[in-house]
């Protein structure tokens, strides 16, 4: 008789989801699924709205990475209205965008990801940011809070609110930066860069130096052979704001390099009856189901994919760490899902370094922040690397500037199928003979948490977020156990 395990809600991630694990007669894992249980429908209820209002509405797709949706939307408006942002507007946008990467990535690492490595064996009620602060010291906790707060101040200064920035305009930004502003922005950029160095060192000293953690990262249970996709700029280096989309195959060879507006030729979205999220795959290969390795049509996005799909980082310190990571992991591409945490810290470092450069750029404070020389067209595609992977906003409008068609490919959606596979693989490795212990289930949750999945984003078409439930089911489908944390 098979059994089923349910984990609900999945926790320490953004959005609503549950994990179903089916056991066979021996109590081993027969199958496992991550189900996204929500949908909202932004692509439909924004039809007929004025194109320029989109930057204000789509930020609501996700409260965790609203800056990404806001920026993709703003860039789609640039293309719709046929206008290039002024050099200063572009710098201000990137300053805000890098600040959002910094605060997002550190929020994930310290609040959501790190507790698994540093408090892996703790009581689940302690395995969180509060427990982490208790372990590493309040001082470090306060430092994390400060870096997050000060970078969100940059977001607020430029676009009003964090979460939910407001005011992205075609060809520009709504507000300039003065020399007076530059003083505190520079100070924040310097402090953030120092923190970025500290965070990487902490990862090496506290996570990697513990052999148990390195073994876990290298464990086959957390490896998945897929393609990788990311936005790359000059010299195919990782770029969060602009460039072409590059896909590499599981051996690391370039599979495709294309302009974002051509994404429809490359990306397909498969519909399954058991989840509200569409499963992205490579159209040129064709849907081959939930499988990795040879014949797979699945690709991954997000921090590790950014490193795998690029030829280096944009900034020198991050580029150096990029090389250290691949040396330690035994070459490129790295298929180690848990290395996403490491890659995330390297991406945060790039954002911090880049902002330090921008904060010192003389052009930053120019008054030339809007290009209003519009040549309105019909279609505009905006693409950025969201913190959780490549994000596409594709809009069409009529002569009045009202939207007639909207298609969104959202970061976590790209990872939806691989997340399922990662969970199944981890479940198969850790759940044996029907023994279901809480810490083993958390190891299953670690497989999805590494992706920092944002089910709110993934279900833009639907409502939402991602709390997770894991159901463990017997072969007859009866729920053997719904994973709930011990009482406290």
């Amino acid at each position: 008789m098979s059994r089923k395990i349910t984990i609900n809600p999945i926790t320490r991630l953004e959005g609503h989801g549950k994990i179903e694990i089916f056991l066979d007669d021996k109590g081993d894992v027969a199958d496992a699924f991550l189900q996204v249980v929500e949908l909202r429908g932004f692509e439909r209820f924004c039809l007929g709205r004025p194109a320029e209002e989109m930057t204000r509405i789509v930020a609501n797709i996700c409260g965790v990475c609203p800056s990404a949706h806001h920026m993709a939307s703003t860039k789609a408006l640039d293309e719709l209205f046929g206008v290039e942002p002024t050099p200063t507007a572009k710098l201000i946008r990137q300053l805000e965008y890098n600040a959002s990467f910094v605060e997002d990535h550190y929020l994930h690492f310290f609040f959501l990801g790190a507790p698994d490595f540093l408090l892996g064996e703790a009581d689940p009620a302690e395995r969180n940011i509060l427990g982490l602060v208790a372990k590493v010291g309040k001082e470090i906790g306060l430092k994390v809070i400060e870096v997050r707060k000060r970078n969100r101040d940059i977001i607020r200064h430029i676009f009003g609110k964090a979460p939910h920035p407001e005011g992205g305009l075609p060809g520009g930004v709504p507000r300039r930066i003065t020399e007076e502003d530059r003083v505190w922005i520079k100070d924040t950029a310097e402090m953030t860069l120092e923190f970025a160095k500290f965070a990487i060192q902490l990862f090496k000293d506290a996570v990697l130096a513990d052999k148990k953690n390195l073994d876990l990262i290298l464990n086959d249970a957390y490896c998945l052979e897929t393609y990788y996709m990311a936005l790359v700029g000059k010299d195919k280096r990782a770029n969060f704001y602009e460039g072409r989309v590059r896909i590499v195959d599981p051996q690391g060879k370039e599979f495709a390099l294309f302009e974002p507006r051509d994404y429809v030729e490359h990306i397909g979205e498969w519909v399954e009856p058991w989840t509200y999220v569409r499963l992205s795959y490579l159209k040129k290969i064709g849907w081959n189901g939930l499988k990795e390795g040879k014949g797979t049509s699945l690709y991954r996005v997000a921090p590790l994919a950014r490193l795998n799909a690029s030829e280096g980082m944009l900034t020198p310190l991050a580029d150096n760490e990029y090389r250290v990571m691949f040396e330690t992991l035994g070459g490129k591409p790295a298929h180690h899902t848990l290395a996403m945490h490491w890659a995330r810290l390297i991406c945060a470092m790039q954002a911090a370094e880049h902002n330090w450069q921008i904060a010192n750029d003389p052009l930053l404070t120019s008054r030339d922040i809007r290009n209003m020389n519009f040549k309105p067209g019909h279609r505009g595609v905006g693409c950025v690397e969201a913190p959780r992977g490549t994000l596409f906003h594709d809009y069409e409008m009529d002569k009045k500037g009202l939207l007639t068609k909207i298609n969104l490919i959202v970061a976590t959606q790209n990872n939806a199928a691989p997340i399922c596979l990662s969970i199944k693989k981890a479940a198969q490795a850790f759940i044996k003979g029907g023994e279901v212990k809480e810490e083993l289930l958390n190891r299953v949750e670690m497989a999805f948490r590494a992706y920092d999945p944002c089910l709110g984003c993934a279900t833009h078409a639907l409502p939402g977020q991602t709390p997770l439930t894991i159901n463990i089911r017997q072969p007859n489908g009866a729920v053997l156990r719904i994973i709930s944390r011990p009482e406290h």
Binding site: K4, I10, T11, E14, A30, G63, V271, P467
Partner: protein
Amino acid sequence: MPKPKVAITWLGACGGCDEAIVDLNENLLSVAEAVELVLWPVALDLKYQSLENLKDGEIALSVITGCVRNAEHLEIARLLRRKSQIVLAMGACACFGGTPGLANFRGKEDIFNWVYRESPTVTNPSGGFPQTSCQVDGNTLTLPEFFDHVYTLNQAIDVDYYLPGCPPPPDLIANALNAVITGDLPPKGSTLAPRKALCDVCVRNKTKPENFEITTVKRIYEVEADPETCFLAQGIICLGPATRAGCGETCLNTNTPCRGCFGPVPGVTDAGTRFLSALATLMKGEAGSDPKELIAAIVDPAGYFYRFSQPASLLGRRTIE
């Protein structure tokens, strides 16, 4: 004395309200010391199952964000209502439906058709939709039912207090939590925000002429809006007159007009009609022009006036059976 138990959860939400709670920054640590968090999916490993084991009314406060869009949201909302003494609807989605409430203008079938059949990237040879129950290799998988309508929280359960905003600002969140911790609470049903209209606190108010007329309606991208002049006086749609104050004027400060995330001013249930009546008195076409043209220049009345409040409006109001 045992610490009061507090649950924080999200229904049909984006997580922005949770981020806003994290934006309490170092004060979050003091809150965490003063209360016992029994649920906060975004940050803590506590599962719904553990709530079932609590006694009814054992939770002092449940902070619920998001609209009610599917059967799971409804179930969680009802569970938390049963276990809690106080339910706080936090954020525009829980209070009024929020931007996801605009979906009430489209319907479930339209959304499903696009998302699962018509979108240019979708591949769906069988043409099927996700199912509330289906078989995969002999195993049954279930999904919560997606409702045909977006509901506000108080259309699903009894709500004690409201904290609007997209998201609510940190000062009002801190005040609300303090009020509950200290027991210093206003009458049930209160909105924990100022009772003024946004216009009354807007710094641009001093530039608003005593009497003015809107002769042309402009869209924000078309103009270089003056950062000190009232948006309406510049012919730009701004929901300030009909919207409750308390947001911190963050949009206005970046030269971006209000879209009403704080909901209607006290005593008003339909923010959109309230704004429309304010606007109508200001609209005066240029001499000899056709008033219809001026009205047509407001290209998306539903999207401007009901951006955050369709499900709470006269148009969208419904109760879950």
